[in-house]
C-alpha cells in the first residue's frame, strides 16, 4: 500500500542535543510538509517543500531545519532541542492544492 512512513515513532533526546526525524513516502507526491502538534492541539505547519522548493513559515524557529534529498525522503533537523520542542511531529504529503494531505503516523519527541 502507498503510504507515508515516519521513523522513529518515538524519539528521546537530551536538552540541546541535535536530533533528526525522517519521513519517506511511496505516493510520489511532489509536496511534503512538516507539522508540530502539541497535546492533541491543532497541527502547526513548520515548513513545506514543493519539489525542491523550500518554504518556511514565518514563525518557525531557526532551530528547525529541513532537508529533502529526493522526492521520497524528507528530514526534520532540530539543532538544539529545548523542553518546549517536545511534541508530536507529523509528516504529510500531497499533490498540489486542492488535494488533501496524507499523514504519517508521527514521531513523538521527548526532550529530557
Amino acid at each position: 500500500d502507498a503510504m507515508v512512513i515516519q521513523n522513529p515513532r518515538y524519539q528521546v533526546t537530551q536538552f540541546g542535543k541535535p536530533v533528526t526525524l525522517s519521513c519517506s513516502q511511496t505516493l510520489n507526491h511532489n509536496v511534503m510538509y512538516w507539522y508540530q502538534q502539541k497535546s492533541s492541539q491543532a497541527p502547526k505547519l513548520l515548513f513545506h517543500y514543493y519539489d525542491k522548493d523550500f518554504n518556511n513559515e514565518a514563525d518557525t524557529p531557526d532551530n528547525f531545519q529541513s532537508r529533502r534529498p529526493n522526492t521520497s525522503f524528507c528530514f526534520l533537523d532540530i539543532r538544539s532541542p529545548g523542553l518546549g520542542d517536545a511534541a508530536m511531529y507529523l509528516c504529510a504529503t500531497s499533490s498540489p492544492p486542492p488535494n488533501e494531505q496524507f499523514f504519517g503516523p508521527g514521531t513523538r519527541l521527548t526532550v529530557l
Binding site: Q6, V31, S40, P43, L45, P97, E100, F103, G106
Partner: protein, 114 residues
Amino acid sequence: AQSVAQPEDQVNVAEGNPLTVKCTYSVSGNPYLFWYVQYPNRGLQFLLKYITGDNLVKGSYGFEAEFNKSQTSFHLKKPSALVSDSALYFCAVREKGGGFKTIFGAGTRLFVKA
C-alpha cells in the same frame, strides 16, 4: 487571514444516534474545506473535502459534510454513530489561490457511548 473555529471541545453521542461536529471558517476568498480524523498516537486521516459544486459532500466511513457559504460553515455529520467513531476530529481550510498552507481548527473530541 484564514481561520477555523470548532466551537465544541467535546461532543458526546450515544451509539446509533446521529452526530454533528461543528466547524466555521473565515477566509478572504473562496475556500477549500477538509475534515480529518485522528486516533490516539496516530497521524491524521482524510475524511472528506469540499472544493466546488454540490454543497453536500460524502466521505469515508459514512461521514458527510455540508458547505454553507452564507453561514461560512462546514459541519461534519453522520446519521448513525459507532463506538469506533470516537476520535479527535479536525476541520481545516485552505484558501483558493492561497498557496499550500492549510489552517486547522483546534479539534473536537467525539465520544460515542455504547
